[in-house]
Subunit: 397 residues, 2 copies
Amino acid sequence: MTDFAATKALFHLPEGVIYLDGNSLGPLPKAAASRVAQAVEAEWGEMLITGWNKAGWMAQPGVLGDRIGRLIGAAPGHTVIGDTLSIKVYQALASALALRPGRKLILSDTGNFPSDLYMAEGLIAAFGQGHVLKTVAPEAVADQIDDSVAVLMLTEVDYRTGRLHNMAALTAQAHAAGVLTVWDLAHSAGAIEVDLTAAQADFVVGCTYKYLNAGPGAPAFISVAPRHAEAVRPALSGWLGHEAPFAFEPQYRPGRGIERMRVGTPPVLQMAALEAALDIWEHVDMAAVRARSIELTELFIAEVETACPSLTLNSPRDSARRGSQVAWRHPEGYAVMQALIARGVIGDFRAPDNLRFGFTPLYIGTEEVRAAVAILADILDNRLWDRPEYKARAAVT
Amino acid sequence: MTDFAATKALFHLPEGVIYLDGNSLGPLPKAAASRVAQAVEAEWGEMLITGWNKAGWMAQPGVLGDRIGRLIGAAPGHTVIGDTLSIKVYQALASALALRPGRKLILSDTGNFPSDLYMAEGLIAAFGQGHVLKTVAPEAVADQIDDSVAVLMLTEVDYRTGRLHNMAALTAQAHAAGVLTVWDLAHSAGAIEVDLTAAQADFVVGCTYKYLNAGPGAPAFISVAPRHAEAVRPALSGWLGHEAPFAFEPQYRPGRGIERMRVGTPPVLQMAALEAALDIWEHVDMAAVRARSIELTELFIAEVETACPSLTLNSPRDSARRGSQVAWRHPEGYAVMQALIARGVIGDFRAPDNLRFGFTPLYIGTEEVRAAVAILADILDNRLWDRPEYKARAAVT
């Protein structure tokens, strides 16, 4: 059993804050501060260039990739970290399209994260050969899968509503029609149970700064099904994805398997933070996390529905169809969220009118849920959100 | 005048080390340690998600980009940091190709860094429509520029030999033939005087972990000439290059000018190190750096030719045609470099037989040059490199 009181003690949480935004940026694992300082001072400072070997920087993307892979049921040796999630989406999509040269349709849904859609749009605009991106409503996806589709590209958990796709079922249906899948696990990894091997997912990407708590700008990851590992020729073919990067050969030769999904120099300082963040996950059982997450979201929904009648639930009510976050609609959602943040309850706002709250059992328990709802109810009951400074929008929230 | 004794005091250099590899990875600016710790503890730890606004993380890529732009003569507001150099090469190349739809030839040279060539090769293999990458000898480039060429893609300073292209002349020749240019400044930024505006360079990329000293895995930069800024539609069209990232619109709309060259979430911890590294450059005059660099490389060449007759110079002898590094060939170059490193003189080895030494006036002076040559001569005179442990090759050097 996972001891959530013990995991909570491993995070730094500011005084007076109830942090319900770990689905956007996880908090600081206490050990990350010293691990990053070690990378800066003992590694960069003392080893200089020799750190690439001596401190293991060069091998880290695969080592860290496998540690993430374990959390999402990827086969060992088939996950690597690097770049940003948008870049990894591009790699995955380009790879999948190349394996279906006769088909032109990329199928996605309106619940996908905009950057994923933008990357597909950019790829098509720059290089498409009759390719088309089609986005349908999430519930219409299954009906649109047929043999005209090259790639089904979806985010498993909707970033706004938390609605959860059935990855295994949609992947099976896609495969039956000869369609390859690109799954984005941004709101899944560390949030819900994922078994890529059982689902036979083809190309899978995700980020590490949300539920995995690796810090702002932490690298992304990509996982490729073993059956595709040697078949893919990467569109983003950088030297660290080369079979022999330090031979400096004039021609590209793809590295073995997932190694070819590496591109440029890995971000050593961000990797240090990621390493410390993943240490926590070594002692965590994803089934226990999922069970506790459901307990927290169920409690939150029940308490808010009782105490805050002006909010409308914008997440699935059935916990089996919901990730680890809950969204509520309110016409003044932006101002309400600013008022909440001013009271120490940090969630976030997602246009047009969503109040979004993430539930992260590693450091959030029932006590925090109840306290947050009490503050939310006070703000709504007394219209405390109705102040000009809460209505003036900043660039990011 | 730049005070190089003062700049040297701003770096941490390990005891007993003469560091002639700042052209591969610059040393730690002392202030970077506390600046990174601040980003981890005071920003990530205390501000959590609100750091994107409060700590200015979201705006940093443009702010830091402009500070680099100043060092390379870019127009203000036309340089941004992010991703890795390989990714930025891809962005630049895809952008340039899109502006020359009727032409199919990418011209480069054998002195270009392999990853740049690999990225072009991958782009063509994945998406080319009859495109061809042609690489010729560096000295043959000028003869090959004609109106069949879409893009001239070169690294200004050869990563092995330090040979320096004439950016202004080649760019002018390219433009006369209707050719666009992609210049890689990996070994130029912070090493030599660069004036992008005077040269009218089109697309320019570079890294920050070499002469700029921003640390292992530091982000890259891209600079786009003002005349192209609004014309380019990025192939890698991520949400942070969108005109309104937090509107989460379903369609991509490119951000203003250089903003559209942003892709995903910027690496906050690496940016903190970059910020501290750039603080040093605020007080540095690039003309003084170049003059001192030439003094150091001239001294090094003269001393080595006197003391180490078994080495063959593999860099241009004319300092006006040389960057800030010097390469020597030796049949046992790998083992010689290992022996040097064991004695505290850190340079690096570049296949097949190059001993490569970088000269970085901010923290290297004539004293270090003389001391390094004495050790090199001792190793060669007494065949101290002839030991099995120096001949066994590690993955990276």
